[in-house]
């Protein structure tokens, strides 16, 4: 029946509207979090910049300082992939892009006969890899959108010990780099062994172009070796922390974009559904009018045939329509 269509559409519009409210709220929340996350990325820059400088000065001044964390392995048997994803979905292609990059890198290493180890951060990567029966070395969840330095330290410890024990020969970091609010890119970066080259320039800091080198010989307290053994793990932590912050900012940016698209779609859908609903209503009204007219007409014609003496009294009211004996009506025709 005619009114049913309209009622269904009305209900549908109400449901789209409710969804729109949710996506709009998520968009706004993500938007405000981007700013905070971005500020945290920037706040972390001085520390990583300065620790980088210290490592560089130490390497330059100490000359022959060696540490297992700096030593590239001759033979690479197992590569650890540290995959940074979000705990939650609803952020467009953010998680799948990181996971795809991780799988690509794992495949590449597998072709060279290298084994893998997975260190996953974020519930999404955990779910993905667990469902596909990958071996997961360790998981960290619950802090993807607001990582603290302690979280970075926990992850760093989890990869550092096996690396030093020779369980991993290479540690790779896969995450989304936050370039700007409009651009984020998935990157695969080596984390361990710490590359002397990579000590220059890192996340969020410009590549340095000072050719001056260390200005003078340093005084060390205690020895350069013992400083380095304390310093390098911190340096790895700082890099991991920067990566986590980048990933968090990217997550919020991706979520905001996805939710904005969803809100816009909902608006479009509401406009279209409203049009369809209005047409349905108009149709219903037209049909009803037709029914009334048709009904009235049918009654009149029934009376014209003269088989309804009930209507005799009404004859005077329908003056010009009234039956005239001199013009006998042709039943069934007008």
């Amino acid at each position: 029946m005619a009114g049913g269509q309209e009622r269904i559409l009305k209900r549908r519009i109400a449901s789209v509207n409710a969804t729109k409210k949710i996506t709009r709220a998520m968009e706004l929340i993500a938007g405000s979090r981007i700013v905070k996350a971005q500020a945290r990325v920037h706040a972390a820059v001085p520390y990583s910049e300065q620790i980088t400088e210290v490592v560089r000065d130490l390497a330059a001044a100490g000359g022959t300082v060696e540490s297992p964390l700096l030593q590239p392995r001759a033979e690479i048997k197992r590569v650890a992939h540290v995959v940074l994803t979000a705990d939650r979905g609803l952020c467009g292609g953010y998680n799948s892009a990181v996971i795809r990059a991780a799988e690509g890198s794992m495949k590449e290493n597998a072709e060279q006969g290298r084994d893998y180890a997975l260190v996953v951060v974020g519930r999404k990567a955990e779910g993905y890899f667990r469902y596909r029966n990958f071996r997961i070395h360790s998981t960290f969840t619950g802090f993807s959108d607001q990582p603290s330095y302690d979280d970075a330290r926990r992850v760093a410890r989890a990869v550092e010990a096996p690396f030093l024990a020779g369980e991993f020969d290479l540690v790779e970091l896969i995450y989304t780099r936050f370039v700007s609010a409009g651009t984020q890119e998935v990157v695969v970066r080596p984390l361990m062994p710490l590359d002397r080259e990579l000590v220059l320039g890192g996340d969020g800091l410009p590549d340095r172009v000072d050719g001056g080198g260390p200005s003078a010989t340093y005084e060390f307290e205690p020895s350069p070796e013992s400083i380095l053994t304390q310093l390098l793990p911190r340096y790895a932590e700082a890099r991991l922390y920067a990566a986590l912050l980048n990933a968090a900012a990217s997550e919020h940016a991706a979520r905001q974009r996805a939710m904005k698209a969803a809100t816009d779609n909902a608006e479009d859908l509401i406009v279209r559904l409203t049009r369809v609903m209005n047409r349905a209503r108009q149709d219903a009204i037209t049909t009803e009018i037709m029914e009334i007219v048709g009904g009235a007409e049918a009654l009149r014609q029934g009376h014209d045939r003269g088989d309804a003496d009930v209507f005799t009294l009404d004859e005077s009211r329908y003056g010009h329509h009234a039956h005239r004996p001199d013009q006998p009506a042709a039943p069934g025709r007008r």
Partner: protein, 134 residues
């Protein structure tokens, strides 16, 4: 008078940045004071307070729980996992932590974790209470 530029940086933020006439820190080998013109220096810091005197005579104290200090070209950078200024320290909490650590140490006097916790709490209390010995 000449000054050095001091920065106390933790991974999460720049805690303090300013000029100072003198900066004093403690490395495992003892206390070191940095004056303008100090030779390049790289040192490790223990759990100790860092003290700096600004040109107007104001003293700045900070609790530094391990870290590094780098000095070059009249810049003193203090890098620390955990560093706090006096107004960021919750004195009551630090005292509770100290009492808890002392209590626990009575049972296991050689636990290194507890000893470290006690040292941290005592440092916090010392810095929060303001200028003590330097």
């Amino acid at each position: 008078m000449a000054t050095v530029h001091v920065e106390i940086v933790s991974p999460e933020q720049v805690l303090y940045s300013g000029e100072a006439e003198i900066v004093v820190c403690r490395t495992p080998e003892g206390e070191v004071a940095f004056l303008p013109g100090h030779v390049p220096f790289l040192g490790m810091l223990g759990v100790a307070q860092v003290w700096a005197r600004e040109p107007d005579g104001t003293d700045v104290y900070a609790a530094v729980h391990r870290g590094f200090v780098e000095v070059s070209n009249d810049r003193v950078s203090i890098l620390s996992d955990v560093a706090e200024l006096p107004d960021q320290i919750d004195l009551v909490r630090a005292e509770t932590a100290r009492d808890a650590a002392e209590e626990a140490l009575r049972d296991t006097p050689d636990d290194p974790e507890l000893k470290a916790a006690l040292a941290r709490a005592e440092l916090r209390i010392q810095v929060a209470r303001g200028p003590a010995r330097t």
